[in-house]
């Protein structure tokens, strides 16, 4: 079934759940390629997703003006193709393994340079901030991409509310760390817990959101339930999942991937086709579900909203 997007209806209302196979688009690509015989597997018939979301539908009160009207990636792909190393370094395993993650009760600790340190309950966050739909491109540093209809609210809403002090120049985010729930932690290698960070102006950018759902429902656990960051102009690993702590600090934090391989993953990690990963090109990407690779866009196509924040910076140095 081809998903048609209309300008004023949220995706959850027009797209029957679990019916997101976009075979027509793919078949066209495969036929053009003249590789139809090889690509027989691309021809989609419908199958139930292996994981279904049993969650209350979120109340959505608005739509982001920054949403793309590009074809959205099927829910099944979003739910089953995940990088979530706390569970596994395999992409298909988090869909199973992450179901052990307890997302209630859940609090997000507000710490660092704020007048009031507090722990906010996730359900408070869900009701206190009006949830909107944001349909964003998502570009993984590995060279694949998706289009995801997130539900969430601007990170700036939260920041304005907690009123960080003047010395707060960076925001540091931390993922839950629980060895009982997260079997991937015992393999070590990365420095747990997973840490990410943004410069304060990046955090205040209207594109930066805290996502609480997708396709109209609460986030699947493997996608970072119950709350995650989404910064669509940066590589996917910056969009930290399952956040338990947000800290306002004066010095630039060292992020998890930066610590693991500083030459490969920088603090900024803006999507940049002109700065290759040392081991692979970033010029192109494969949109999940498509046959042909497409060109990767500077700042993942969000230059109008974010380029000014990096004016005058050498993006090959600050990658």
């Amino acid at each position: 079934m081809l998903i048609k997007k209309s300008g004023d209806i949220v995706s959850s209302e027009i797209t029957p759940k679990k019916v997101f196979m976009n075979r027509r688009r793919f078949m066209t690509g495969a036929a053009l390629a003249g590789a139809a015989a090889v690509a027989g597997h691309f021809v989609g018939s419908m199958r139930e997703p292996t994981q279904t979301v049993e969650a209350a539908t979120l109340k959505i009160s608005g739509k982001s003006p920054y949403s793309t009207n590009e074809q959205q990636t099927p829910l099944k792909d979003i739910e089953n193709y995940n990088n979530f190393y706390e569970f596994s370094s395999d992409k298909y395993e988090p869909a199973k393994l992450a179901q052990k993650l307890k997302t209630r009760p859940w609090t997000v600790e507000i710490a660092g340079a704020v007048p009031k340190k507090e722990k906010i309950d996730i359900d408070t966050l869900l009701t206190q901030y009006s949830q909107q739909e944001f349909i964003y491109r998502f570009r993984c540093v590995e060279g694949w991409s998706m289009v995801i209809p997130w539900i969430g609210f601007p990170l700036s809403d939260l920041i304005k509310h907690v009123q960080p002090l003047g010395k707060a120049k960076f925001v540091k985010f931390t993922t839950k760390y629980d060895q009982g729930e997260m079997p991937g932690l015992k393999y070590g290698g990365l420095d747990w817990p997973y840490v990410e960070g943004l410069r304060m102006d990046e955090a205040m950018n209207p594109l930066a959101i805290l996502a609480t759902g997708l396709y109209g429902d609460e986030l699947p656990k493997q996608d970072g339930a119950p709350i995650r960051l989404v910064v669509p102009w940066k590589y996917g690993f910056k969009s930290i999942k399952s956040i338990v702590k947000i800290e306002f600090i004066s010095d630039q934090p060292t992020t998890t991937w930066q610590a693991a391989a500083p030459g490969e993953y920088g603090f900024y990690s803006n999507v940049n086709p002109n700065h290759d990963h040392p081991r692979w090109s970033q010029k192109k990407e494969r949109r999940i579900g498509e046959f042909f690779k497409r060109d990767t866009l500077m700042f993942n196509g969000y230059g109008d909203q974010v380029a000014s924040m990096y004016a005058g910076m050498d993006l090959n140095k600050y990658y």
């Binding site: 196979m21 021809v43 370094s89 992409k91 298909y92």
Partner: protein, 235 residues
């Protein structure tokens, strides 16, 4: 265990079918013919892009790459296995394993050229030049070509056993390059390339040990021939 000629041949046919396993597995997943459908027309209807996951090209690339590496290692395992197990007839499977390594390597390369890059020559040349994991992977494949071409009995005769052997020691280089190809492409978790590398280290270590033992022995023999008195202490 001693097998008759006939048994060895039957076993070889079975082994051949088993060697097709990784390919059949991919085809099966890709086509996934529904049990209640019949006729070619329904094959496509039963196919599901998702049988090969969200990123099928990646799955095909990995599966063919893994099969290549496994067959390279199996080829290298034949000699130690037949000596240590005392089963000389195993040598009759080595060529088949080696050619399967070349077969899966060709599929792996074809997946990259056709499915991944879709004949984007500029991009592929840039990849080979700049990406060391692709450089070594490509080199590993190229080194297999002369070995596949000279794998026939005719070529063994033409080259002579000694020279043929020399040439086919290139497979050691292919194997080492293949491990680095794997090691350098993973983002972070190097567990699997390290495991395969460990197997290769054992297989090459065996050869080095044999070589050292034989060198010492032949050196001693040469010494005996050249100067017999040194082994007989003067009294």
């Amino acid at each position: 265990m001693t097998l008759s000629n006939r048994q060895i041949r039957i076993l070889k046919v079975l082994a051949f079918v088993a060697c097709l396993g990784p390919l059949l597995n991919l085809v099966w997943k890709a086509v996934h013919i529904l049990p209640w459908t019949s006729g070619i027309g329904f094959i496509a209807a039963g196919a599901d892009r998702w049988n090969l996951g969200a990123n099928p090209i990646n799955v095909i690339t990995r599966a063919t790459g893994k099969a290549t590496l496994i067959f390279v290692l199996m080829t290298l395992a034949v000699t130690p296995a037949r000596r240590l197990l005392g089963q000389p007839w195993l040598i009759r499977y080595r060529r088949m394993f080696g050619l399967f390594a070349f077969f899966y390597g060709s599929l792996h390369l074809a997946t990259y050229v056709v499915l991944d890059q879709f004949f984007d020559v500029g991009s592929m040349i840039a990849d080979i030049e700049k990406r060391k994991f692709i450089t070594v992977g490509f080199a590993a494949f190229v080194l297999m070509i002369p070995l596949a071409l000279t794998s026939t009995s005719g070529w063994i005769r033409r080259l002579g056993g000694k020279r043929w052997h020399r040439l086919h020691q290139l497979v050691y280089v292919t194997a080492v390059l293949a491990i680095f190809h794997f090691l350098w492409l993973v983002k972070f978790d190097i567990t699997r390339p390290v495991k395969y590398g460990g197997v290769l280290a054992i297989l090459l270590g065996y050869r080095i040990a044999i070589w050292l033992v034989e060198r010492t022995r032949s050196a001693r023999e040469r010494q005996v021939i050249a100067n017999p008195r040194t082994t007989v202490p003067l009294s």
